[in-house]
C-alpha cells in the first residue's frame, strides 16, 4: 500500500500544497522557454490530456504548438488535426517547416465517431500529437479520453471554449489563452500536475504575421525569475 502511495507522490498525481515537486512524467518541451519554466521546466505532458481554453481562433494558439509540430513531424511522428474549425493552410504550415507528409486531417460527423477516432489515434505508436476541437464534451467523455491518453505516450491537446475553465476536468494541464494588446499570447495556467496553478506569462506572437516591432517577452507574474532568451 505504501508503495502505491509513494508512486502517487512521485508522479505528482497527489497534489501536495506545501511543496513543489518536479514530476517524473514524460513531457515534450513547448519550445518557449518562458512557458517551459512556468510549467516546471518540462512542457506538454505526454500520455495525458492538455486543454487550451480560448474564445476565438487567430490569437496565436497554433503558434503555441508549432515548435512541437515541427519537431514531431520531422521525427517521423504523425500530427492529427481532428475536426479543426477552419482549414489549416498548407502553404503556411510548409513555410513554418512542418513536414506535411506527417499531417493528417480527420473530419468526423458524430460525437461517437469523434471519441472513437481520438481514442484510436491516442493508442497508436505512430501518433506524436493530436489536436482536437471537440465542441461539447461530457466530463465522463474527458475521463475516457484521459484513460486513452495514458495508454499511449503522445501529446493530446483539446481546444475548448473559455467558459469551460470553471468546470473541473481530469486533464493534466489546462491553459487559458487570451490575446494581449501587442499581439502577444497571454497564458494563464489553470491547472498543472505537481504544483500550484495560477502562474501567468505572455509569449510574443507578433512574428506570426511578420509584424515590424519585436518586443521582448515579459513575465508578468511567477515564482521563477524571467530567464534570458
Amino acid at each position: 500500500m505504501s508503495e502505491l502511495l509513494n508512486t502517487l507522490m512521485q508522479d505528482a498525481r497527489v497534489w501536495q500544497g506545501h511543496q513543489h515537486r518536479s514530476t517524473s512524467q514524460p513531457a515534450e518541451p513547448t519550445g518557449y522557454q518562458i512557458l517551459d519554466n512556468q510549467l516546471g521546466g518540462i512542457g506538454w505532458p505526454r500520455g495525458a490530456l492538455s486543454e487550451c481554453l480560448l474564445d476565438n481562433s487567430g490569437i496565436g494558439e497554433l503558434h503555441l504548438l508549432l515548435p512541437l509540430m515541427q519537431r514531431l513531424s520531422h521525427n517521423g511522428k504523425t500530427v492529427f488535426w481532428l475536426n479543426p474549425p477552419h482549414m489549416p493552410y498548407a502553404p503556411a504550415l510548409a513555410r513554418e517547416g512542418v513536414n506535411l507528409d506527417q499531417v493528417v486531417m480527420i473530419h468526423t460527423d458524430e460525437a461517437g465517431d469523434f471519441l472513437w477516432t481520438l481514442e484510436n489515434c491516442l493508442r497508436s505508436p505512430v501518433t506524436g500529437l493530436v489536436m482536437a476541437w471537440p465542441g461539447k464534451l461530457a466530463s465522463r467523455d474527458i475521463r475516457r479520453l484521459q484513460l486513452a491518453a495514458e495508454a499511449g505516450s503522445n501529446v493530446c491537446v483539446l481546444f475548448r471554449e473559455r467558459r469551460y475553465a470553471d468546470q473541473n476536468s481530469p486533464a493534466a494541464l489546462r491553459l487559458e489563452l487570451e490575446p494581449g494588446d501587442n499581439q502577444e499570447l497571454k497564458i494563464n495556467i489553470v491547472k498543472r500536475r505537481g504544483s500550484w496553478p495560477g502562474q501567468r506569462c505572455a509569449l510574443a506572437m507578433a512574428q506570426r504575421a511578420d509584424l515590424a516591432f519585436h518586443e521582448a517577452p515579459r513575465v508578468i507574474q511567477g515564482p521563477w525569475p524571467a530567464s534570458t532568451r
Binding site: 481562433s57 490569437i59 503558434h63 510548409a94 493528417v104 487570451e178 506570426r208
Partner: protein
C-alpha cells in the same frame, strides 16, 4: 509418369458443410427439387440415400437441410480445390464435375518419396474437411478408374496397379453402355480379360474407339492432358443453407475465407489493398462492400477487423443467401525496411497502415485528408487535399520562399463586420485566374480586430471587405 487422381464423391456437400457452424443432415436435390442426388454420411446413417424422393427423405429426417444442385457452382468449387492443389503439384488437370488429377511422379524427390507426397495431399484434404478418394496410376485413365472405384493405394508398383485394374469389373471401367453390353455378351466380366484380347481383333470386332480407350488405360497409346493454370485472382464463395440475418453470422465463414486468402497471398508472396465482398440476397440486388486498406496487407485478422468495423457501421439490408469475396488487385510484397538489426524499433509503417485502415473503415474514405501546397497565387487554390498515403521521403528544405500566410484559412471569405482596430501590413495585391474563369483580384491586409484576433482581410474589386484567414 505417375498420376494422382482425386475423386470427390460429394464435393458440394462438403463445401456447404464447412461453412456451417452447426452440424446436421444435408442432401443435394436435383434441379426440379424432386429427387435426392447426394446425401451426406449423417443423412445416410438415418436412412436417406441417393435416388430417393425428397418427400420420403424429409419424412425420415424432418430437419433435413436441402441444397439444389447447380452445375456452375460445382465447377467453381472444383476450381477452388485445384487452386490449393496447385501449391503441391505443378501439372494439374480438372476433370469436371468431381475430379482433379495431378502428375505426382516428378514430385517424389521433392517430398522425399511417394508416401510423403501422398501424406501431404491427404493432410491438405483433411485441413479443408474434404472427402476425397485418391488413386494412383501410370496413365490418367488408370488413376481415374482406380480412384472412382475407391481402390486407391499408395504404391507405384506397375504390377500391383495392373492387377488392381485387371480385377476391376467392366461396369466400373466406364465404357459406354453399348460397348459394355457387347463385351459382356462376349463373356468378359473384368477389365483384365479385355486387356488380354489381341489389339487388332478388338478394333475390328468392337470399334477403334474401344481399342483406343483400352490402350489409354494401359498406357500404350499417348493420352496428353493440358495442364490447368490458376487464374490470377482470388475468389471464394460461401453459400448458406439458412439465410443469415445478422452481420455477426457472416464473420464466421469470412474468417475461413480470409485465412485461405492469407495462405494464398503468402504463397504468392503478394499483398493486396482492396477486397470486394458481394452479399447476395434472395429478393434484392446484391450488396457490394468494398474494403480498402491504406497500405498493402495480407493478414487475415487485420482484414477481419476492418470487415467487422464496416459491418458495425453498415447493417445488412436484407438476409444474406451467399457471400463472395474476391481480390483482383495484387501487389508485390515489400521487404520491411523499418526493422533494424536487433528488431528494436517497432514497425511504424505497419502501425501507420493499421491505424489509417481502421479510421477509414469506420469514418469513410473521405474523412481523412492530407494537405499539400500547390503552385498558385490564389489563396484558395494554393493548397490541395488528398487521400492519405504513406510517404517516407525526408521533408524537403523549401519553405522560406513562400510568402507569409495565416495558419487558418476560412472555408470561404467571410464578410468583415467591424472596423479593425489596428492595421499592420498591406496591401499585397493578388490578381489572377483569368485563365480558368475563377478570377481573383484582391488587396490583402493584416489587421487586428477588437476581439484580439489577427486577421487576414482583403478588399476585392467591388470594394467589399472580407476576412479570409486567421493568424493562429
Amino acid at each position: 509418369m505417375l498420376w494422382l487422381y482425386l475423386h470427390f464423391p460429394h464435393l458440394l456437400l462438403d463445401h456447404i458443410r464447412r461453412t456451417r457452424e452447426e452440424a446436421g443432415a444435408l442432401v443435394i436435390v436435383e434441379g426440379s427439387g424432386q429427387k435426392v442426388i447426394q446425401a451426406c454420411p449423417e443423412a445416410r446413417d438415418q436412412g436417406v440415400h441417393a435416388g430417393m424422393r425428397l418427400k420420403t427423405a424429409l419424412s425420415l429426417v424432418p430437419e433435413l437441410g436441402t441444397v439444389r444442385a447447380d452445375q456452375q457452382q460445382e465447377a467453381r468449387i472444383l476450381e477452388d480445390q485445384a487452386r490449393w492443389l496447385y501449391r503441391y503439384a505443378a501439372h494439374i488437370v480438372l476433370v469436371p464435375p468431381d475430379g482433379l488429377m495431378a502428375e505426382i511422379g516428378s514430385l517424389k524427390r521433392l517430398y522425399g518419396g511417394l508416401p510423403a507426397a501422398w501424406q501431404t495431399v491427404e493432410q491438405a484434404l483433411d485441413e479443408r474437411q474434404l472427402t476425397a478418394w485418391p488413386g494412383l496410376g501410370h496413365t490418367p485413365l488408370a488413376a481415374r478408374l482406380i480412384a472412382r472405384a475407391g481402390k486407391g493405394e499408395c504404391t507405384d508398383d506397375k504390377g500391383h496397379i495392373q492387377r488392381t485394374l485387371g480385377q476391376m469389373p467392366l461396369l466400373a471401367a466406364e465404357f459406354d453402355a453399348r460397348t459394355c453390353t457387347r463385351l459382356q455378351r462376349l463373356g468378359l466380366n473384368t477389365l483384365g480379360e479385355v486387356f488380354a484380347l489381341p489389339a487388332a481383333e478388338l478394333a475390328r470386332r468392337l470399334s477403334p474407339e474401344t481399342l483406343a480407350r483400352v490402350q489409354k488405360i494401359q498406357g500404350t497409346r499417348p493420352d496428353p492432358q493440358a495442364p490447368w493454370q490458376p487464374p490470377h485472382q482470388f475468389r471464394q464463395q460461401a453459400d448458406f443453407v439458412q439465410e443469415i440475418e445478422l452481420s455477426q453470422g457472416l464473420l464466421f465463414p469470412l474468417q475461413r475465407i480470409l485465412t485461405e486468402l492469407e495462405e494464398d497471398l503468402c504463397w504468392r508472396q503478394q499483398e493486396t489493398d482492396s477486397l470486394l465482398l458481394v452479399l447476395r440476397h434472395r429478393h434484392e440486388e446484391p450488396t457490394r462492400v468494398r474494403i480498402r486498406t491504406s497500405g498493402p496487407e495480407h493478414r487475415a485478422d487485420a482484414f477481419l477487423n476492418l470487415v467487422r468495423l464496416r459491418f458495425e457501421q453498415q447493417p445488412l439490408r436484407a438476409p444474406v443467401v451467399s457471400l463472395q469475396l474476391s481480390v483482383k488487385r495484387f501487389l508485390g510484397r515489400e521487404a520491411d525496411t523499418g526493422q533494424d538489426l536487433l528488431g528494436e524499433t517497432q514497425d511504424l509503417n505497419e502501425a501507420w497502415h493499421t491505424l489509417m485502415s481502421r479510421l477509414q473503415a469506420r469514418l469513410g474514405d473521405q474523412a481523412l485528408k492530407q494537405l499539400s501546397p500547390q503552385a498558385d497565387h490564389r489563396p484558395e487554390r494554393a493548397w490541395s487535399a488528398s487521400g492519405v498515403h504513406r510517404n517516407n521521403r525526408p521533408a524537403g528544405t523549401t519553405a522560406n520562399q513562400l510568402p507569409r500566410r495565416p495558419l487558418w484559412l476560412l472555408q470561404g471569405p467571410q464578410p468583415l463586420t467591424e472596423a479593425p482596430i489596428a492595421w499592420f501590413a498591406g496591401p499585397e495585391r493578388i490578381s489572377g485566374g483569368w485563365w480558368d474563369g475563377h478570377r481573383v483580384h484582391r488587396d490583402y491586409y493584416i489587421a487586428q480586430l477588437s476581439s484580439g484576433q489577427l486577421a487576414w482581410v482583403f478588399r476585392d474589386i467591388r470594394e467589399g471587405w472580407f476576412v479570409h484567414g486567421w493568424f493562429g
